[in-house]
């Protein structure tokens, strides 16, 4: 169970302090899939960063009762001067995963093969995204964080990612944030709408879409 209890985030800006998240409370049970809809500037990315542990809330508590992934297909945690293999080795150490088991999977899935021995700075953007996604799949998380629905590589590779994440790992919990209702509709049972730092829960998806549409015309 992941629990957010009255989580607020306030940033100090030149124009005074700005409340990006205002007393957000939500829970995610094992295997539950929640979708968070929000327009531009609603605070989606901040919320994802707080759930992933990248940032600490200004007040309130985040409890991780299960392991949480980094935001998926996110390539920022990797070091450009290191090779793909060394980056994978680092991730395996951080999460206590076995490198020798993970390596063949990542080689196979990312379709990068020999390039894994090259420094990341020599990769194209598409290659980086493939590596990032493959590495996220090599670590077994209880809950996956998905910031927008990512487009990794071409249509065929995108389909492969889709199967790997939503079909092979359909027993896992997922938190999907997006500004496109269609993207959360297919995967989520519980919906939240994030608007100007406030969150509202909907058990009926249609009500959520209606509410979201009225706030984001």
């Amino acid at each position: 169970m992941i629990v957010l209890d009255k989580v607020s985030k306030v940033y100090g800006t030149r124009g005074g302090s700005r409340t990006v998240l205002d007393r957000i409370s939500l829970q995610v049970a094992r295997g539950e899939k929640i979708g968070i809809l929000g327009g531009n500037g609603a605070g989606k990315s901040t919320l994802i960063r707080i759930i992933s542990g990248a940032e600490m809330p200004s007040s309130g508590h985040v409890h991780h009762g299960m392991s949480v992934s980094w935001p998926l297909a996110f390539g920022g945690g990797f070091q450009g001067s290191l090779t793909g293999r060394d980056n994978l080795r680092f991730i395996c150490r951080v999460y206590g995963a076995d490198f020798d088991t993970a390596l063949p999977f990542v080689e196979e899935f990312s379709e990068l093969r020999g390039y894994l021995r090259e420094p990341l700075k020599n990769y194209s953007a598409g290659m980086r995204a493939r590596l990032a996604f493959a590495i996220s799949m090599a670590i077994e998380f209880d809950c996956f964080l998905i910031d927008e629905v990512m487009a990794v590589g071409d249509a065929r590779f995108h389909e492969k990612c889709h199967i790997e994440l939503f079909e092979k790992r359909k027993d896992r919990a997922m938190i999907i944030v997006s500004h496109v209702p269609e993207q959360v509709r297919t995967h989520c049972n519980t919906l939240y709408v994030l608007d100007q730092g406030h969150i509202k829960r909907f058990d009926n998806p249609d009500e959520a879409y209606e509410h979201y549409a009225s706030r984001n015309p």
Binding site: A54, E55, M56, M66, S67, L82, R93, V94, Y95
Partner: protein, 265 residues
């Protein structure tokens, strides 16, 4: 190979150890690469530093004390400077280049400082041990009189470096001015640290003043351990320990504050 959920204290400790080790290995590979002598630079670099200084001092014969050879004086002095100075300097601006790592929920701001502290202390310690062994084998210096006291002095200096590193490192994340002021300040600290003198050589009125400098106390302990009766050492262990302890707590508190401000892209 499931990623672990946080649980008991021991489990958390195991995770923390793993994360610090991962960061440490990552730092070694990014800093030294896999080319030429690779990670050996970790201690070859401080060793060369100490060697050059020792060479320079030997030429200039700056040691005023006939009881101690210049080489021995320089090795103990300069190695000690490196252990606290490198540890502290590596902690400044340590977070910004590693911001994106914060997305891994196991990785905390403290872990980044801890990995750098461990790495620098390890490098300086290996360099000191290797130099001492080589110089002893060449009969340039005598073996230490009391090895435990040497280790104790070394430990205190390393602890001082770690505590100061935490404090200055976290402060440098909170304000850019800290780093700018800190570099010149750490330069001034160098001659005051006892690297080129022993407290005994000073007049009694200066001794009391200079003993307020924490590193002087640590270095006096170390040199007393190394040279035994050949020198008269002045130090206050309680003061040094209290200073290191307060600095560590202060540093950890600052890290906590800095952690709340960390903002990855």
């Amino acid at each position: 190979m499931a990623a672990s959920a946080p649980a008991s204290f021991w489990r958390s400790l195991a995770i923390q150890r793993r994360v610090i080790f991962a960061l440490l290995m990552r730092e070694v590979i990014t800093r030294y690469g896999r080319h030429n002598i690779g990670f050996l630079w970790l201690f070859v670099e401080p060793m060369l530093f100490t060697l050059f200084v020792t060479g320079l001092w030997s030429l200039l014969r700056t040691s005023h004390n006939p009881g101690i050879p210049v080489a021995a004086f320089a090795v103990t002095g300069y190695s000690s400077v490196l252990v606290w100075r490198n540890t502290m300097l590596r902690c400044t601006s340590a977070i910004t280049p590693n911001l994106s790592l914060m997305y891994h929920s196991n990785v905390r701001v403290f872990d980044i400082f801890a990995s750098r502290v461990v790495l620098e202390i390890a490098g300086a310690s290996i360099s000191f041990i290797v130099l001492a062994l080589v110089f002893t084998a060449l009969r340039w210096i005598a073996p230490p009189a009391d090895i435990l006291k040497v280790l104790f002095g070394w430990f205190m200096l390393a602890w001082f470096g770690a505590g100061l590193g935490f404090a200055v490192g976290a402060a440098s994340e909170l304000s850019e001015i800290v780093e700018k002021i800190w570099h010149p300040l750490s330069y001034v600290m160098l001659p005051l640290s006892g690297v080129a003198f022993m407290v005994d050589w000073l007049s009694p009125s200066y001794r009391a003043v200079v003993l307020w400098v924490p590193m002087v106390n640590g270095l006096e302990i170390l040199r007393e351990g190394y040279f035994g009766d050949a020198v008269t050492a002045y130090y206050n262990v309680e003061y040094l320990a209290a200073f290191c302890l307060s600095m560590t707590f202060f540093g950890l508190a600052l890290i906590r504050i800095a952690s709340r401000r960390v903002q990855p892209q």
